[in-house]
């Protein structure tokens, strides 16, 4: 591609990025009705979508587009800002703009009637802007900036209903946990900058970039003239992963995501299912070369563990959004696992497919919640409208929603013919292949992933069966017969549109062979393993056979017999229900610990530091008082002595000065008398 097309591509991408910012600024700065901005944002995001498609077409399977400008200079370091679009970022750009546009349209109906709607559109605009910026930027510093901005807009959106206590606690928690991850990211940036003196992604991480030139020599990580102990390479990888883990809700920083479900469902679907949480995976994809084998192993282990843990928790949750949230965590764990085992392309592929079907799951759930909420408002019921225990039989009322959600659930399970089958099997197969080369214990990882995918099948089918099959259990509880409606038309259009993306043809014309997917082909530069391995046939067959069995099991539990074995008293059940007690542990150890620390530090500050100052002050005052005393008694005493004697005499004499004539006379005569007497006696003597 020549430079002119490069420039135009960059400008297209830039405009696509800036359009949502325009809606953010425009809506906030132009005063008007509180529900203004819907049309403006949808227009802008659609324009972005259009431009993204253009960019995608231009860039896909073409040389990387990279343009940059001087941004600022510090000392001798020049920092540049620029746009770097390769296959990965073009794909992400397209994905984000597509899903964002659909969610925008969906929100039109879903959020209708909210008193502060303009803020919603503005925040969505800010989010889309930062997400676009995050995927197209070429500098780690800018990436970091957008990374935090994404967190910030997520903060705003989670706390959109800021009068709800849970919402504001959730958004604070989300932001602070993300901040914790950001510190890891920042540490990574510091290490990279110290070692390579640049933060330009294309210089650092492209093929033959700086990172690949750095070598390990005698325990030092060397690049040209810079070197530092090789532990810092591992630390850098871990630090970046820590940042990614926070954003992608991986253990141990996953607890914010379930709470984040306090935000509007459309937001959850866009941010906490499809796009933002995937940013962590995207980051790992961008800086993949920095990770050495130890870090990759850590990533794989944490990914697998998170996937398993979240799936177990999802088994026992009753809040429809929370089940989906844990499912998201679990699926993100799969992606991390894929990154860790070197299946870079599969991770991204799963990111894409997951984005669609998880978004669809959320939006369908949103439709259900929307209707349940209507019901609640209409009859003034005191119920939790997100509790699946109250639902049931909704398939009769909302057939379209049911079908789309079913499709998405099948994709999540990975039934052949869906997009999820392709990507999930890719990850599983590659994980098994990777474990061939690993020693002993690490062979557990792919098996845990296998188990996780079965757990997935169970919890999602439980969700579907409980919500859509059987009878409406709300009737039993309230003793009334309710009926619901299908979701508004606009919402169903969006659901249908998304549902089509859950099918295989969009990703691969061969429904069974993930290697033929154009995404994998476009991204996976290293994958050259053919279908030689036994895993390639064995695993999909095993997974799906068993998954179908599990679905049948849950069908018998939840639909046919209408009741499931009650395990709610078993320790494992409670362990899962309390989300493995992470929240409690964090609250008790870190949050309370920090608060206690801060209070004691403040007490220390007041008592010791300030106390010392005040003590000094008091001591000075004391010494001053002492010297003043000395001054007054000894030095001044002599001077004042005469004066005070006079004063005492004066005071004494004052009593004679009564103003009474007769007193004067008495005194006078007494004096005369004494004079006489003295005179006489002195003479006598």
């Amino acid at each position: 591609m020549d430079t002119i097309t490069q420039e135009t591509t960059c400008i297209l991408a830039l405009v696509a990025t800036l359009m949502p910012l325009l809606s953010f600024a425009g809506i906030l700065l132009v005063p008007g009705r509180t529900d203004r901005g819907a049309f403006f944002s949808i227009l802008n995001i659609s324009f972005s979508l259009l431009l993204s498609v253009l960019v995608f077409i231009k860039v896909w399977d073409q040389p990387v587009v990279h343009q940059q400008l001087e941004w600022f200079t510090i000392g001798n370091w020049h920092f540049k800002a620029g746009i770097l679009i390769n296959n990965l970022s073009a794909l992400m750009l397209l994905l984000i703009s597509l899903i964002a546009a659909l969610v925008h349209i969906y929100s039109l109906k879903y959020m209708e009637g909210d008193p502060y709607l303009f803020r919603y559109w503005a925040y969505l605009g800010l989010f889309c802007f930062s997400m676009f910026g995050l995927v197209i930027t070429d500098s780690l510093l800018l990436l970091y900036m957008f990374w935090e901005l994404v967190g910030f807009s997520s903060y705003l959106l989670i706390g959109f209903w800021f009068t709800r206590k849970a919402a504001v606690q959730a958004n604070k928690k989300a932001f602070i946990m993300n901040r914790l991850g950001d510190l890891g990211f920042l540490t990574g940036i510091m290490i990279i900058f110290t070692q390579f003196q640049t933060l330009d992604i294309s210089l650092l991480f492209s093929e033959g970039g700086f990172v690949s030139h750095a070598t390990i020599q005698n325990g030092f990580w060397v690049f040209s003239s810079n070197k530092m102990p090789d532990i810092w390479l591992t630390i850098a990888g871990l630090a970046f992963f820590f940042g990614a883990a926070a954003k992608s809700a991986q253990f141990p920083l996953h607890t914010w995501l379930p709470d984040a479900m306090e935000g509007p469902t459309s937001v959850s679907s866009l941010i906490h299912a499809a796009t933002m949480v995937a940013a962590g995976v995207f980051l790992l994809g961008r800086i993949y070369p920095i990770f050495n084998s130890e870090v990759l192993l850590v990533i794989a282990v944490i990914g697998a563990f998170t996937a398993f843990m979240a799936a177990t928790i999802a088994l026992v949750q009753n809040d429809i959004k929370r089940i989906l949230a844990f499912s998201t965590i679990s699926q993100l764990g799969f992606m991390m696992l894929a990154m860790g085992v070197g299946a870079y392309g599969s991770a991204i592929f799963h990111l894409i497919t997951h984005a669609f079907f998880k978004c669809l799951l959320f939006l369908s759930a949103g439709a259900v919640i929307h209707e349940m909420h209507h019901l609640k408002e209409k009859y003034k019921l005191d119920i939790d409208h997100q509790d699946i225990r109250l639902m049931g039989g909704l398939r009769k009322f909302m057939p379209l929603t049911f079908i789309t959600m079913l499709l998405a659930a099948l994709a999540l399970i990975g039934i052949p013919g869906t997009s999820g089958y392709l990507s999930k099997d890719a990850i599983l197969i590659q994980a098994f292949e990777w474990s061939e080369g690993q020693a002993g214990f690490w062979k557990v990882i792919p098996y845990s992933a296998l188990i996780t995918s079965w757990l997935t099948a169970f919890y999602i089918s439980r969700l579907i069966f409980k919500v859509f099959f059987g009878r409406l259990r709300l009737n039993d509880i309230c003793g009334q017969t309710f009926s619901l409606h299908e979701a508004p038309k606009i919402m169903t259009y969006v659901l249908v549109a998304l549902a089509t993306f859950c099918l295989f043809p969009f990703f691969s014309f061969n429904p069974l062979h993930y290697e033929h997917s154009w995404i994998i082909e476009g991204l996976n530069v290293v994958s050259n393993i053919g279908r030689v391995n036994i895993y390639h046939t064995l695993i999909p067959a095993a997974v799906n056979l068993f998954a179908v069995l599990i679905i049948y099991l849950s069908f018998t539990w939840y639909v046919k017999r209408g009741k499931s074995p009650d395990l709610s008293n078993s320790a494992l059940f409670r362990f899962a229900e309390n989300q493995w007690y992470f929240d409690k542990i964090y609250q008790n150890s870190f949050v309370n610990g920090i608060l206690l620390l801060s209070r004691s530090v403040f007490a220390f500050d007041k008592a010791v530091v300030d106390g010392f100052v005040n003590l000094l002050g008091r001591a000075t005052v004391l010494i001053a008082g002492l010297s003043q005393w000395l001054d007054r008694r000894v030095v001044d005493g002599v001077v004042n002595g005469a004066g005070s004697v006079t004063k005492i005499i004066g005071n004494f004499a004052r009593h004679f000065q009564t103003g009474r004539l007769q007193h004067y006379l008495v005194t006078m005569l007494l004096i005369v008398l004494s004079f006489f007497i003295i005179k006489y006696f002195s003479q006598a003597i």
Partner: protein, 180 residues
């Protein structure tokens, strides 16, 4: 004891007792009339001191002038002066009289002591003044007149001027002030 002596002591007793009554009584008018008696008796004493002119002057000036002045002053001016603004403190030996009594007594003792110590009758100049001593038959007015017009002319004139000043001043002070 001769009659002369008896009469002298009677006069002395009258002077002292009336004077005591003057200071002891609570009624102002009574005390002034008693004061009148005191002055009369004093005049009697002067006679015994062979100063009949002085005795006469005493009666004329004091009794005729001063006392009348006093009484007239009271009568002419506000009558309230005569009744005490507050009832007099009841006891003669009230606490606020004590300094006065004490001083007076001490003074009295000192004076008596002094007088007895001096033994006036044996004083040098008294003894040497045999020639110069007035006899009961002498006319003292003659000498007084000569002395007033010669030796004491200046004081005499000064006193007369002073007397006039005092009279004018008294008249000025005592006149009713006209409110301006």
């Amino acid at each position: 004891m001769s009659v002369e002596q008896i009469i002298f002591y009677v006069f002395a007793a009258m002077v002292l007792s009336s004077a005591l009554f003057v200071v002891a009584t609570k009624n102002l008018v009574h005390s002034i009339f008693l004061f009148f008696i005191t002055l009369f008796s004093m005049a009697g004493l002067f006679v015994f001191a062979l100063a009949d002119f002085i005795a006469l002057s005493q009666i004329v000036i004091y009794v005729g002038g001063v006392l009348v002045l006093m009484i007239f002053a009271f009568l002419l001016s506000n009558k309230q002066i005569l009744d005490n603004p507050k009832p007099m403190r009841s006891r003669f030996l009230g606490i606020h009289h004590l300094p006065g009594i004490f001083v007076a007594l001490v003074f009295f003792l000192v004076l008596i002591w002094t007088i007895s110590l001096v033994d006036i009758g044996q004083l040098q100049w008294v003894k040497e003044s045999q020639e110069n001593t007035v006899k009961a038959s002498d006319n003292t007015i003659h000498y007084i007149g000569i002395n007033l017009m010669t030796r004491y002319l200046l004081p005499f004139e000064v006193v007369s001027v002073f007397l006039m000043m005092a009279l004018i001043g008294a008249a000025h002070l005592a006149r009713k002030e006209r409110k301006v």
